[in-house]
């Protein structure tokens, strides 16, 4: 084929699509940093860092609204089809997940301030650090997969989400044993529980982003599918 199908006849349309993709990526970078900082804050008890995360949540919210609006403009002006349509829909869904991750990061930060106030030692330190670092990797993995249209990379994120879910379940069991042994730890345990829950939710959102990568590349909607079903879709 002696034609360049990468470019639209309309240069502005190219630029608009390029813009939403780039804006989504930089919002992704911001959210990844928010989550990484929230996790670092809780693990190290750094309340300044936690403060910073809370302050920046606003930037994440603004980015979501801006990008979503850009997507709407493209839909109205260009009536995109096929891979262009999937790009716009995927970006618009991804920014929603990114915004929710931002919320979870700021929840973690708020709990950091409470947990570090208490005199008891922190529970489930290990699990928190492990899960936290894992979901940060998942966010960058999902965004990379999006940028490279990499289905395998996206599936890897879905696999890691299952591991995080398992970690979360076992951390919960650990917390319950603490609470049973020493009822005075219940307040602290509940705070930790909220934090673990927030981290686990971030993993779910990274998984959602990966599902959009599969939609973007193949057109198949794999939301609410199992890992096995997703792997099968990728093979077909």
């Amino acid at each position: 084929m002696d034609m360049n199908f990468n470019q639209h006849i309309s240069g502005q349309f190219n630029a608009d699509l390029e813009a939403i993709r780039n804006h989504m990526m930089s919002m992704g970078g911001l959210v990844e940093r928010q989550v990484a900082n929230a996790v670092a804050a809780i693990c190290s008890g750094d309340t300044h860092l936690a403060d910073d995360v809370i302050r920046r949540e606003d930037d994440v919210d603004k980015a979501e609204v801006t990008i979503d609006n850009e997507c709407t403009q493209i839909l109205v002006r260009r009536q995109p089809a096929a891979s262009d349509l999937r790009m716009v829909l995927a970006v618009s869904r991804v920014v929603r997940d990114l915004e929710r991750m931002g919320d979870e990061a700021s929840k973690i930060a708020i709990h950091t301030l409470e947990v570090t106030d208490s005199k008891n030692p922190q529970l489930c330190q290990q699990a928190m650090r492990y899960m936290g670092e894992e979901v940060v990797k998942m966010i960058s993995g999902a965004l990379d997969a999006f940028a490279r249209h990499d289905v395998e990379g996206a599936i890897e994120v879905v696999r890691n989400d299952k591991l995080v879910d398992k970690q979360y379940a076992s951390a919960l069991r650990e917390l319950i044993t603490y609470m049973m042994e020493d009822p005075r730890s219940i307040g602290q345990a509940i705070n930790i529980l909220w934090i673990l829950r927030a981290i686990e939710r971030i993993g779910d959102h990274a998984r959602n982003i990966s599902e959009q990568v599969i939609y973007l590349v193949s057109g198949t909607d794999v939301r609410h599918s199992t890992l096995t079903e997703i792997e099968k879709t990728a093979r077909d």
Binding site: M3, N6, Q7, H8, I9, S10, Q79, A81, A82, D84
Partner: protein, 267 residues
């Protein structure tokens, strides 16, 4: 770009309840080949959209379906086009009733220089479909009703058809096509001369007509194809590249040429 060697149409060109079936259709204008081995079914009561860049052969293919190409001397059609089991290119077939059964609506509304009533009554008269004035009145009213024009013209049936607005003229032409009791309606860019409101009315009409008729529509508007059709066929340089459900074509087309065309990467 050039013709694809050994091309096989992607997607689902065939269907179980075909009203019209084209098989290995080739069309030449003199030395020049305009259609290359096109095989396609058009299902009963479906609207199929034929899309593709200008000059790709959409009109030529559409005109094969009721032998309108017979009117062009240098045009030669080979292959088979079967309507309800019979090949319409069989030499025994009389094209006049064929063109009533497979009616056509053109790009520019072309009412006869006659009254609204006579525009619609003309076909039924020459095909002997009405035995009395009462019959004819009934056919005219029913056809104008189905074309969504009755309410607007019932008080001025005897004024000239050419006095109507563009959109009304196009619906009058649709009424004229319907009046001879067709089974298939072919439309070649029926809205390209109309404003958006008139276009929306025709599109709504197409959707209603689908209950009774099988419709093939050529359109250069991708949004129109997406709105009115159930299946979409993409033509490129006289070849049928891909046929799929309209949903599929506009979300996940199979062929890269279809994708490039509908996303506006060429045209």
């Amino acid at each position: 770009m050039s013709i694809i060697e050994n091309h096989k149409t992607d997607g689902k060109p065939f269907c179980d309840s075909a009203k019209l079936s084209a098989r290995d259709v080739c069309v030449h204008y003199g030395e020049k080949q305009a259609i290359f081995d096109v095989s396609l079914d058009i299902g009963k009561n479906e609207v199929i959209a034929l899309i593709g860049p200008s000059g790709c052969g959409k009109s030529t293919f559409l005109r094969c379906l009721n032998r309108m190409n017979d009117t062009i001397d240098i045009c030669k059609v080979t292959g088979e086009i079967v309507l309800d089991g019979g090949n319409i290119y069989d030499p025994k077939v009389d094209v006049v009733p064929l063109r009533a059964t497979v009616g056509m609506v053109f790009q520019k509304p072309n009412p006869f220089p006659k009254t609204i009533y006579d525009n619609v009554a003309y076909g039924p008269r020459i095909h002997g479909l009405a035995t009395s004035r009462v019959d004819l009145d009934e056919i005219v009213e029913k056809s104008l009703q189905r074309a969504g024009l009755w309410a607007e013209v019932k008080d001025r049936l005897h004024s000239p058809g050419t006095g109507l607005s563009g959109g009304q003229q196009q619906r009058l032409c649709i009424a004229r096509t319907i009046a001879v009791d067709p089974e298939v309606i072919l439309m070649d860019e029926p809205c390209s001369a109309l404003d958006p409101i008139a276009t929306a009315k025709i599109e709504e009409l197409i959707d209603e007509l689908r209950e009774k008729y099988t419709i093939a529509i050529v359109t250069h508007s991708m949004q129109q194809a997406a709105r009115v059709s159930q299946r979409t066929a993409y033509f490129h340089l006289g070849q049928l590249i891909e046929v799929n459900s309209t949903d599929k074509v506009f979300t996940t087309p199979e062929h890269q040429l279809t994708e490039a065309y509908i996303t506006g990467r060429f045209g």
